[in-house]
């Protein structure tokens, strides 16, 4: 899957939880889920569960620990897809 496709799928996933529309409109790999998009930390687990459902992968605790930015999420998704 190309990075652009991954980012666009991720955008759809995080959309219901974001609280900063401007940061969302300008989302890049460097966007931070909490600092930039202002996603409530309790909703970060929903983002992770949605990613698992969308890509049919399992995100283990060690991977989840790093899941704070778009870039980290892409790296983890790519890694899990490659090892599926």
């Amino acid at each position: 899957m190309k990075n652009d496709d991954l980012i666009s799928k991720l955008k759809t996933i995080v959309k219901p939880y974001i609280q900063d529309e401007i940061a969302f409109a300008n989302l890049t790999e460097d966007t931070d889920f909490i600092k930039d998009l202002k996603i409530n930390s309790a909703n970060l687990v929903d983002v992770i569960l949605d990613i698992e459902d969308e890509f049919d992968i399992e995100i283990d605790n060690d991977s989840m620990e790093k899941m704070l930015s778009v870039k980290a999420a892409i790296d983890i998704i790519e890694d899990k897809l490659a090892n599926k």
């Binding site: 909490i34 600092k35 409530n40 930390s41 309790a42 909703n43 970060l44 687990v45 929903d46 992770i48 569960l49 698992e52 605790n61 989840m64 620990e65 790093k66 899941m67 704070l68």
Partner: protein, 182 residues
């Protein structure tokens, strides 16, 4: 080190579904899940544990200056209805929660030190909440102080460009805002 976390219970109800498949397993230990499920009000127990973990995480990040998302590593043990211990690695934090019909507010700290200031207030949901809470903190000081966040998002108080030796923690959710200063 001090951390706080605030949950607007009405908003929590609509914002997250604790009964969603995988929701509990990702964030809570088996023992915590058993305690949640056998509790009189599982919804309240979920958010009490969550606020304890989040308040303790804020203490931890102040001390160790790093960010991560590992709620399951913060293990909660209740001492009484409103107090508990949160353990992570070899650290322990003591938590004290205030529960009402509308919110849960948890404060966690390590030492038995005295809290300098702690306030909880109602807020306009459409206002810039971070800014509002910051103004509330600043108004408790007689001298002019400012708040700056470091690269880990941890807030610090400054006076004349000098970092003060106080820990602060800020939280807001829905209709409520709160801060603590240690």
């Amino acid at each position: 080190m001090i951390g706080n976390d605030l949950i607007d219970l009405q908003l929590a109800k609509s914002q997250s579904s604790w009964q969603r498949k995988g929701f509990l397993e990702k964030q809570f230990t088996d023992t915590e899940i058993a305690e949640i499920l056998s509790s009189e009000n599982p919804f309240l127990q979920v958010w009490l544990f969550w606020s304890m973990k989040e308040a303790a995480y804020k203490c931890y990040t102040q001390e160790f200056q790093k960010r991560f998302f590992a709620p399951k590593k913060f293990v909660c043990t209740m001492i009484s209805k409103n107090t508990g211990i949160v353990s992570v690695e070899n650290q322990q934090y003591f938590s004290n929660s205030e529960n009402s019909t509308f919110f849960i507010h948890t404060i966690a700290k390590k030492e038995d030190s005295k809290i300098y200031a702690s306030e909880l207030f109602l807020m306009d949901e459409n206002a810039n909440q971070t800014q509002f809470v910051q103004q509330q903190i600043l108004s408790t000081f007689l001298q002019k102080v400012t708040i700056q966040k470091n690269e880990f998002g941890i807030p610090f108080l400054y006076q004349n460009e000098k970092k003060l030796a106080l820990s602060i923690s800020i939280s807001h959710h829905g209709k409520f805002g709160a801060f603590v200063v240690l």
